[in-house]
């Protein structure tokens, strides 16, 4: 008897018992169940929740693999300087790089999934419903959007908070107002700000070494990895240009949250999601437009001479408007977070507004946030809250337009055949 049979047997054994949802979840996660419904006929598409979730995970796997190598690459580059003649095989895809990623990124992933699914299982057992697939995507998103040195216990606390307060209190998967992964990140950001910002958190060991040096150690070299936005927020644009080229930003060979940097892979993931019709192209496109518009406005303000080099906003405002898309978490947020079908706008017209404001506000918060030069997660959470309002007005607008059409309708008189009067709408 194979694994499938055994799982089926366990499932039968626990049927109707309290722990049933937990065993059902393990069974249906691995296999399609044998049972069919006995009453009524159901036509269903193959693209159920599980497949939707798995498609997003597939789009994220290249990013995850890149981030494992980048973790090591940033660490060794911070120690020895960036390699002069960069070659992908010699400097990036090396075993040393991968090892750092394996010991730092995989534990984050394991804690994220372990704790998150545990909470889901507990809630399913208490409330007596089946375990929902909702955490599958959140679980892989979370390690990709936190700094690499985030302590595992902090991540665990944040995951419990995010899943319980962000999702379960609203009624579980599909009922949440806020994106759970971003709720987790926001919790970490407000609870432990020193672990989430500055130039010592984005590169493996940077913080540990600086603490050791503070404590009096002399045999360690200090390392730091400032993000592109960090440089700009301190008006050190010229110094930043020396370290990172535009192509570095596009390919993702820069410090940042674990998986937010590889714009190229995120772009491919986004195209994959659009072609598989999982994510909305309207949201992605309008968010890109929104960020470009805001970036252009800031560039123009600098052009007009309203903001000069002495201003603390100069560095970020004078940053080329399109480059905002290839640094920080903007691309990652637009492709994987803004397009969350549960928390985003539902109407097609609403999606345009929703996406536009995400891009627009992200760049605005980047420039004006005094504490932290990144604002994508705040912008998306804010628009999550406004998404139902946007939808409401879009639907009301549609109703109003059709009511007006009805007002202008005329009733035709009976014709010679004696047919009943027809209602003919005049298109307005």
């Amino acid at each position: 008897m194979g694994l499938k049979g055994k799982l089926h047997e366990i499932k039968q054994k626990y049927k109707g018992k309290k722990m049933a949802p937990a065993f059902n979840a393990i069974h249906t996660f691995l296999y399609a169940p044998d049972e069919t419904t006995h009453n009524g006929s159901h036509i269903r598409g193959a693209d159920d929740l599980k497949r939707t979730m798995n498609t997003v995970i597939m789009a994220l796997v290249p990013v995850l693999i890149f981030s494992i190598f980048n973790a090591g690459y940033q660490h060794f580059s911070a120690l020895n300087g960036f390699p002069e003649n960069f070659s992908l095989m010699d400097h990036f895809l090396t075993w040393d790089n991968a090892w750092i990623g394996i010991i730092k990124v995989l534990p984050l992933l394991a804690v994220s999934y372990g704790v998150g699914l545990l909470v889901e299982f507990i809630f399913a057992v208490i409330k007596g419903h089946e375990v929902e697939e909702g955490y599958l995507v959140t679980g892989i998103l979370v390690p990709l959007i936190v700094p690499i040195d985030t302590p595992l216990w902090m991540l665990a606390v944040a995951v419990v908070f995010g899943v319980v307060i962000g999702k379960e209190v609203f009624g579980g998967t599909g009922m949440n107002i806020l994106n759970p992964a971003l709720t987790i990140r926001a919790f970490l950001f407000f609870a432990y700000p020193t672990w989430m910002s500055g130039d010592k958190v984005w590169v493996y060991e940077a913080r540990e070494r600086s603490e050791a040096i503070l404590a009096g150690a002399t045999d360690v070299d200090a390392i730091s990895g400032e993000t592109v936005l960090g440089y700009l927020a301190q008006n050190k644009g010229a110094a930043m240009d020396q370290v990172y080229s535009t192509w570095d930003m596009f390919y993702g060979f820069i410090p940042g949250s674990v998986g937010e940097t590889p714009t190229l892979l995120i772009l491919l993931g986004g195209l994959f999601l659009i072609f598989s019709k999982i994510a909305s192209w309207r949201i992605m496109l309008s968010a890109v437009l929104g960020s470009l518009v805001m970036g252009l406005i800031f560039n123009q303000v600098v052009e007009m001479g309203w903001v000069t080099e002495t201003s603390k906003f100069y560095g970020l405002m004078s940053f080329d408007f399109w480059k905002h898309l290839i640094v920080g978490g903007l691309a990652f947020g637009i492709v994987y977070m803004a397009t969350d079908p549960v928390t985003g706008a539902q109407t097609n017209k609403g999606k345009w507004y929703y996406g536009f404001f995400i891009g627009f506000l992200s760049v605005m918060i980047r420039v004006f946030n005094p504490a932290y030069p990144e604002g994508v997660f705040l912008a998306i959470l804010l628009m999550n809250v406004f998404a139902p309002t946007i939808d409401h007005y879009v639907v009301r607008g549609n109703v109003k337009r059709r009511m007006k059409r009805l007002e202008n309708a005329v009733i035709l008189p009976k014709d010679s055949d004696g047919k009943a009067a027809e209602l003919q709408a005049e298109t307005v």
Partner: protein
């Protein structure tokens, strides 16, 4: 004869749990969010409200038959304002540091919905003894929640209780901090109080399903 009849007892005990002003009536939330970052401030606020509401209810109850109903809100406000000024002055005289922490919120007891709510709903229609018990009961119900919220926010946010470090020293890394534990900055900011109050409401309704409102 017992000091309190059964009905009198329920006047005091009901607002502590099943008819709590914060978790059931959802009144007085503003101050519950604002001043509960420290346990000491929560306790002082609770005591202040017990004083203001206990006395205020009696005063209003004594005057209930001579207050013209058209100007009753103004009369009520004057009574609260007088009592609040007394509290404020006492705090300034004997606990100046604390009165600075509480800041405007002592003055703002006057706008605490629970106080006007109890005047309107109870003191205007009941005798002074019953009104006194009702005032004390509701203020205690408010105070209990304040103290619970203050306890968790100060413990998790600052690692102290009543200003005394209980988890070790975060700078010297002693006690719990030696294991890598850190204070949770989120608990210091007012939104955390909203979430803690929410969790209390959740726990209470999960334990007493009769309290759950129908849709």
């Amino acid at each position: 004869m017992a000091l309190l009849s059964k009905k009198d007892t329920s006047l005091i005990l009901d607002p502590l749990a099943d008819n709590n002003p914060i978790t059931i009536q959802v009144l007085g939330i503003c101050s519950a969010l604002a001043i509960t970052a420290e346990l000491e401030a929560s306790i002082v606020m609770a005591v202040a409200v017990v004083f203001v509401l206990g006395i205020g209810n009696v005063v209003i109850s004594l005057m209930r038959n001579i207050i013209p109903s058209k100007i009753r809100i103004i009369v009520q406000l004057i009574v609260v304002a007088t009592l609040v000024i007394v509290v404020d002055q006492v705090l300034k005289a004997f606990a100046y540091e604390l009165s600075k922490t509480l800041g405007a919120f002592v003055g703002l007891i006057i706008t605490n919905c629970i106080i006007m709510g109890r005047f309107e709903a109870f003191a205007l229609a009941n005798g002074p003894w019953k009104s006194f018990l009702d005032g004390i009961g509701n203020a205690l119900g408010y105070g209990v929640i304040l103290i619970i919220v203050g306890f968790f926010r100060e413990l998790l946010g600052s690692g102290t209780l009543l200003g005394i470090p209980v988890l070790g020293d975060p700078i010297l890394k002693t006690g719990l901090y030696a294991t890598g534990y850190e204070n949770n900055g989120f608990m210091i900011i007012p939104p955390a109080a909203l979430i803690v109050v929410g969790i209390i409401i959740w726990v209470q309704r999960a334990r007493t399903p009769a309290l759950v409102e129908e849709n």
